[in-house]
């Protein structure tokens, strides 16, 4: 019984962290799906989202507002607006001028952007770890009180539900809306879509804005869940989310979700049953295995040779 509860607890831990990987991975996968480049500055957009949310929360607290839903909504909206404009600006400044060149050039531009944003936040906000208030506290417990108890906190539930809502909305948006249809068209064939009268520049901007907005959601959620943020934390999270995107099949939105969850659970099970030291070994080992045996990822479609 105790073993089962322990397993359940590690599963919950893994699914929580996995959902947030998925939220960040969307940004990588959508951009790759549409223009075939890796946006390495995406982790920084996520980090900026977390900082913006913290500034908004602190500001509201200074105004004496203590009503939790209002604080969360204002923080979320602020973070999404700032991150989205950042995502849009990054694309406009760093990627559009080099689009269509050799594929290494936008990649290098993206890495440069990532370093720039990291150091900008270093300068603007200081390099220290800043504590993030835990706004949602408490949770449910299972199991008898004298032995191991499985607990699921309200924060973890919030993370699951928010991720599910975001993912469902995004899927609906991509499959039903006009912009979504245009997105799919652009991802199939950019040149052809533009010949058919789709404003491809606008669609590409929209992709960056959507990815950044979801990253901002993840920034707020993870800031609250973990409890501290620093200018470098976007880099590691970005790397993990990128791994999740590749694992699930880069370019595929359900793939990003699946990849994120698998990665999260693999990490927490490794820490739980093996040792925390092997966490990254296992997650990146998994990536290598997938790439060896299924190079397109779990749900990715094989690339059709365009002649």
């Amino acid at each position: 019984m105790q073993d089962l509860l322990y397993f359940l607890q590690q599963l919950i831990n893994g699914l929580t962290i996995g959902s947030t990987y998925a939220l960040i991975a969307i940004g990588y996968t959508m951009v790759y799906g549409i223009i075939g480049m890796i946006n390495f500055a995406h982790g920084e957009i996520y980090m900026i989202g977390a900082y913006t949310a913290l500034i908004a929360i602190t500001g509201l607290a200074a105004l004496g507002i203590a009503w939790l839903p209002l604080i969360l909504i204002v923080a979320l909206v602020c973070a999404m607006i700032v991150s989205s404009s950042m995502g849009w600006a990054v694309e406009r400044v760093a990627y559009r001028p080099v689009r269509g060149r050799h594929r290494l050039i936008p990649l290098i531009s993206a890495i440069g952007m990532s370093i720039f944003l990291q150091n900008y936040v270093h300068l603007a906000q200081g390099s220290r770890n800043i504590g993030f208030p835990a706004l949602i506290e408490g949770g449910f417990r299972f199991g008898s009180a004298d032995s191991f108890q499985t607990s699921i906190s309200y924060m973890q539930i919030t993370i699951f539900i928010t991720t599910l809502i975001c993912m469902s909305l995004l899927s609906l948006f991509i499959s039903r809306s006009r912009i979504g249809r245009a997105c799919r068209a652009v991802s199939q064939d950019l040149g052809m879509a533009s010949l058919l009268g789709i404003d491809t520049n606008r669609i590409i901007s929209a992709t960056f804005v959507i990815g950044a907005a979801l990253a901002a959601v993840a920034g707020l959620l993870l800031g609250m869940y973990y409890g501290s943020i620093d200018p470098l934390f976007g880099f590691i999270a970005g790397l993990k989310a990128f791994t999740a995107a590749v694992l699930g099949g880069i370019g595929s939105i359900p793939g990003a979700m699946l990849g994120g969850l698998i990665l999260g659970v693999a990490e927490s099970m490794t820490s739980g049953y093996l040792s925390g030291e092997y966490k990254d070994v296992v997650s990146f080992g998994l990536l290598i295995l997938i790439l060896l045996f299924k190079p397109t990822g779990l749900l990715g479609k094989p690339e059709v040779e365009k002649i």
């Binding site: 893994g14 770890n129 506290e137 417990r141 191991f148 108890q149 924060m155 501290s228 620093d230």
Partner: protein, 370 residues
């Protein structure tokens, strides 16, 4: 007209150049190398404020053998790669005495460069035993060793008669070194070590680790590392209702842990150098810090002050600015400093250095427990 202007310009620039040269010759450059930015910058602040104060006060007293001290400050971000870069920069700047570095993992590679280039280094904070194990002639410290701090923590934990203890570390030279020392002490005392495990520095999610600690049902957790990770572990452990007491080395004992962990930092046990700022004989020095609006209570402020003072006294006693002669003077002498009487052994370690166990409070204050 033009010629006279030219002459004037030449005359002025020559005299400026000469002034510069004369100025430089009368100064002894002291490199101060530590993290100004990065995750452990607050320790760097302590180091810089202590060293600057020492340089100011020594210069106000007429300098060393009539020569003024000049600080050359560099930022190593507590990153071994950056430490090598800034060490080379100090070499290029003609610095012959260095106070630094702070993190053991930075001090180690930087000290290789200093030893090769004949530069004397005094680290005010690095506690890894390896640093002085290599038979270097020019490496000193004004702080104790993990091999002294670990046993103090281990013996204290053992005296509480725990059934099971878990030991976590951040896989870095400092954290793992001290965690190993604690483990060995506890083992010798017959305490069961339920877990000895590393985490990745910079990680944010410790939910799996905390679940594991809960499962292992331990009485105490010792953490070898720095405050950013321990702060998160404390906070996430409180949220997961993990009922245990945490203990850490001086790398976790600063007020930033309170901003991360909040109330969860109450009751944390920390081994720290004794509060030198509370000593009677340091009163005027403490007042000098307070007059500048600085806080002398950090663990590395007065050790850095002492590092500068030792270099100055070493130069005076050797009557030379040759680092090798200064090193010989430091090894043979006995010095009265704000951290007590300092005497060095052959390796460059202090012959005695005390660590004290404190209980940390959620308002950032601390009380000694033994």
């Amino acid at each position: 007209m033009t010629t006279s202007v030219k002459k004037l310009v030449t005359a002025v620039s020559t005299s400026i150049a000469l002034m510069g040269a004369g100025h430089a010759a009368a100064e002894i450059k002291i490199g101060i190398a530590g993290p100004m930015t990065g995750p452990v910058a607050q320790y760097g602040d302590m180091q810089f404020s202590g060293a600057r104060m020492a340089i100011e006060r020594i210069n106000a007293d007429g300098g060393v053998n009539g020569e003024m001290l000049e600080a050359v400050e560099v930022d190593d971000v507590c990153d071994p790669k950056q430490a090598v870069t800034v060490a080379n920069r100090l070499v290029n700047d003609g610095v012959r005495f260095v106070v630094g570095h702070l993190c053991s993992s930075s001090t180690q590679p930087a000290s290789d460069i200093y030893e090769d280039e004949g530069i004397l280094m005094v680290t005010p904070a690095s506690t890894s035993p390896d640093i002085t194990e290599r038979g270097y002639e020019l490496v000193f410290r004004t702080i104790g060793l993990d091999s002294m701090q670990g046993p103090v923590a281990g013996e204290y934990l053992a005296s509480l008669n725990p059934e099971r203890v878990a030991i976590i570390h951040d896989k870095q030279q400092y954290g793992e070194g001290i965690a190993t020392a604690v483990r060995d002490t506890l083992k010798n005392a017959g305490v069961e070590i339920a877990m000895f495990e590393g985490i990745t520095a910079g990680d944010k999610d410790f939910s799996s680790l905390i679940t594991k600690l809960k499962q292992a049902d331990v009485d105490y957790v010792y953490y070898g590392g720095y405050h950013p990770e321990l702060g998160l572990i404390l906070r996430q452990a409180e949220q997961a209702d993990l009922d245990t007491v945490f203990m850490g080395p001086e790398g976790v004992g600063n007020k930033d842990i309170n901003t991360i962990a909040g109330d969860a930092s109450e009751g944390l046990l920390v081994t720290l150098p004794p509060s030198f700022d509370e000593k009677e004989e340091n009163k005027s020095l403490v007042q000098a810090f307070e007059a500048k609006g600085e806080d002398p209570s950090g663990p590395f402020v007065l050790t850095s002050y002492t590092a500068v003072q030792l270099i100055a006294e070493g130069i005076e006693q050797a009557d030379s600015t040759d680092p090798f002669e200064v090193a010989a003077a430091l090894r043979s002498g006995s010095f009265d400093t704000p951290i007590g009487t300092v005497e060095y052994d052959e390796k460059g370690d202090m012959k005695s250095f005390e660590f004290v166990v404190y209980e940390w409070h959620s308002d950032g204050s601390k009380t000694p427990v033994n």
